[in-house]
Symmetry: D2
Subunit: 343 residues, 4 copies
């Protein structure tokens, strides 16, 4: 961590709305250590009155959770609320001139129809913000003051496929993508559901929402197509397994024409050449390799003469899949080194 | 498994009241395989209408849970209800001439005061049944038709200390016993508490109810003394760890006069010589050694010239600590081989 | 368990060669409880001299492991040896008129070339035995005295796809199958590798041998095609996760023509209608549902108008994936109820 | 993290000898982020030639491991070697005027006899360094240039008992201490032992070295007494459980005269009042509360009229129990804020 003298001076005041969940706690941890910000308020309705150090003693943060009542004293607001709860708040904060990073799914989809279909919630056509995936949309993020932070599964899948589809130099034609992604259980939030209890989930794996997960349209949109009119066949099987953190995605891609592992590896290397948080790896990646980091590791694992490609990606769902990517977006919007507070 | 011809014929009809919890599910699994019984009804209020195979597909049992409405068609009733709920039911079933095994704490304590102090529930002085720990009370169990099945922690602790206190030939004087017991999380039942979620309990250990756990008076009573007027100093620290099943108890015993590991090992061997489910082991025991068995393994791990003794015991909390011991009690009451259906 | 009087009489003597590994231990556990056999010898070179109760105290088996020296006193031999070590032994036992079930990969593949390519070991063209997957090859198993027991991944994948390919009434055309299978770590055997230590594998997932796993040709052969000249595109990504037992397979199938979930479910139901150990389930399956059972659970999770199908299967790798299926094969060859000792 | 301008300038060059084990990897991670040091060399014999990023991709460190050949270019050396291997190296580094922090047990014990008894290794009487437990020996650490970093179990036990014994104002008399401590499996190092494999340790607990663990004399020495002539009865039962990191210690203390929880809590509060890394907590502590932190949490859980006291402590074995405390010691010796790089 090489800090210039000026970077040592904290400048921006930051608050978190929805600070008591797992993503909120990770944001708290990261922001407390970030040299350019001062963590101001932790808003959390259900835990209001409790001290953060009581709920998360490992955080070493003695702030008290408060209910949010429209305050706008901070420069920057992170929202880590359940889906639907950010829809009203974000426009207010944006109007007040605040820098806003929303971790919910409320502002990710451009298509109102797809949002309503996958989230079962109404929203207006203008409820869209810049999609905060730096590797694909850094220029747009840089220009604005508000981003919608990507979903965890979406991050692990989009980064694993994007070079095939968005590399304009090469003539790769993708016919089908099948994704099988295993998430740590923290992805379900700080929950009291019986089916997420230790006794149920230890030594277990469970798929859910196969083909209907709300990250499906987000993935398609980020890749330049749409769930309702897809440019290629797409199937997504989300699963949870016996781990707290991490997402491990196996992406089966069907190309038209033969696939070549080395060629694809080079193409990925080039595509991500300047990216501080994407690592295209020679050897197999594992969840442990990215545990508590902001990295997305990618390994091209297999190719065949018939055009099959197996790509494996790993992220920490609470970091690159949530709080880490959110800080990365903040850094971009503040114009400081993108890795600040994240290495 | 050597079955005589007559043992091959199923004879007794059995029902479980409170069949949908973890102990109830283990009872279901064991009774389905038991050659002398026919599993009749699975009563469970909260899951009424659901099929057992839906809630526990590994059971391969296609019975439907029903609410219990006072039926008395079966010969034998197991009750695996939350504490307090058996207080009314047991006397009715006993009056109807049924064989009853109650897995709750409702009928374990002879002292009304201690019951009320530790369970925070009223009960009448006659709400006591034979304490179903075969190794100590086999004769009484044999004579009766109703037993109160021991608690899981209590089983792992009482069996680990009993020979020191109840062996009448030797003149051992116990001055103090400190117990530190780690339980699998299934001991808390099929739960939806946030603090028992996978995300909270993976890679975690947590002590609770130190010095006030309700198994304390039960342990003292079984050992021939009482919590209110103890014959020796007693401290009990229950804990839960990152495992589903099992109880591992470390018993620090302070004797008057020097302790000798080999001597104590022999004394334990002799005390449990005819017991099919207690194994006094030469080498260290582990939870894995008794996983999904009805054994209680005991190892005398350490002794000192100043009278300190470390005894380690391991059981499966859902078997020897609940359903397994309950079946063992049933076998005794039916006059059949005590190990039937348990090996 | 309804045993007829004659079934209560043990008749066959059985020995295990390679008894000290995890599959060998499961065989030991199951055979000790099996009413038609008497477990005679436990052969294990590396653990020779040790008692089974010392290595696996939960087994409650006081037999000593011995080195195998060509004895042929038993009626039935199970071989649970590392790949390559059964190649010499099996022909000797078959010549001696013994019933043989081999759990290694040595005799599974008909193609010598494919065996040598995937196992990196030479073998002779006649080193092939009946492939012991009862659901597909029961008639052949029934006629013979020797079977090669299927691989664990292969079982979970073949059973999940077979009805699509082998159902002769319907005109389904499979274009591609992508399999992503997560196995419990016990699949790697009783191992001392650093990368399989608790510290490395807790909270981890790792893919390996993508596209080159030795179960690939076995799967293709069982499905009536071959790895070298496949009738459809096939990709297999094996993984290990943070669990001891279980295999969870997500099978992405590409049909020609639209896929229909309900239709496929009915087709599977019909295909497996008389199978005691395959359950086609309406709701999502989980590893926990088949834990310590011999079931293979199958759920048709998703279908699309473009012909994509997601099929999820779950087995216990040590039972239906090894020891359980081996006992099932023995039961068939003995002409007794196929489920004996397995429910 | 408030860094003054001068603290932003890195000044000291640091190397790690024995960098490829778990403690070495944690040291690497922490030193890379420490504002006052520059990580120079990673020495590791067995992994020499490998890149740190290959062995620990989560570290994001592209240094190569080298064999150590007596280099003395760095200002500060951390040694994280197996016991015995530091005995020769430390004196050479000290002679060369280097600041040295040794994480092995080689230099902890003043008594040659106790060292040889518990470590089964010879050593000379002068092979002793300042015991690097800041809470008890800060003045000595401050004065010197070399410390022997405490053992993980010892840290969790000594900090939990010290106030009772070392508080000079109060007249508490300790008669006996029984410790039951569960460690994460990383405490055994980066190991390839079968008994530490995931398949063996998942859902397991195992005690070991009861009464003979090498941290026993270290604990007694730190508390001002000795294992060979103890001022109070002491028993220590170390265990490993199904978790990677953390130590949870239950300390049963027998006082002469009645024990009072509130009084003791106040006494601990006062004793640790200025300590940045010891937290005396009102409510129960858990391993999760200190996970990946340098804290030692202490909770006085129970007291009795007969003088029994139950004290529960939690640390992260790789941080406060190893690498974290080592950095804390370095900070003290460098005269910088003790918490630098640790919050």
């Amino acid at each position: 961590m090489n800090l210039s003298v000026s970077e040592c001076l904290k400048r921006y005041s930051v608050s978190i709305i929805g600070a008591s969940g797992y993503s909120g706690a990770e944001l708290t941890r990261l922001l407390l250590r970030h040299p350019n910000v001062e963590l101001q308020e932790l808003y959390a309705f259900s835990q209001a009155g409790k001290n953060a150090a009581e709920l998360y003693p490992a955080l070493f943060c003695d702030k008290f959770y408060k209910p949010y009542n429209g305050e706008t004293e901070s420069d920057i607001y992170f929202l880590a609320l359940p889906h639907g709860e950010a829809l009203q708040l974000v426009p207010q904060l944006v109007s007040a001139g605040k820098t806003v990073i929303d971790l919910s799914g409320d502002f990710r989809l451009k298509s109102v129809l797809e949002h309503e279909h996958f989230y079962k919630q109404l929203k207006t056509p203008d409820a869209v913000m810049t999609y905060g995936m730096p590797e694909l949309f850094r220029e747009e993020i840089l220009k604005g003051k508000a981003v919608s932070n990507p979903g965890c599964f979406a991050t692990s899948i989009v980064l694993g496929i994007a070079p095939l589809l968005l590399d304009t130099e090469h003539a790769l034609k993708v016919r089908a993508v099948n994704c099988t992604s295993t998430s740590g259980i923290s992805g379900a939030g700080r929950s009291s559901k019986t089916e997420l209890s230790f006794s149920e989930m230890s030594e277990n794996i469970r798929a859910y929402k196969v083909g209907v997960h709300q990250h499906t349209p987000e993935i398609m949109q980020a890749l330049g197509t749409s769930a309702s009119n897809p440019a290629f066949d797409f199937t997504f099987t989300p699963m949870i397994g016996s781990l707290v953190r991490g997402i491990y995605s196996v992406l089966n891609v069907q190309l038209e024409g033969p696939a070549d592992k080395e060629y694809i590896t080079q193409l990925y290397r080039k595509f991500y050449t300047d990216e501080p948080f994407v690592r295209v790896r020679e050897s197999m990646t594992e969840v442990k390799h990215v545990y508590r980091t902001n990295f997305c590791d990618i390994h091209i694992a297999h190719s065949s003469a018939t055009g099959s490609l197996v790509i494996v990606t790993a992220i920490d769902n609470l970091l690159k899949g949530a709080a880490g990517q959110a800080i990365q977006n903040m850094n971009i919007m503040l114009g400081i080194d993108e890795t600040t507070g994240l290495l």
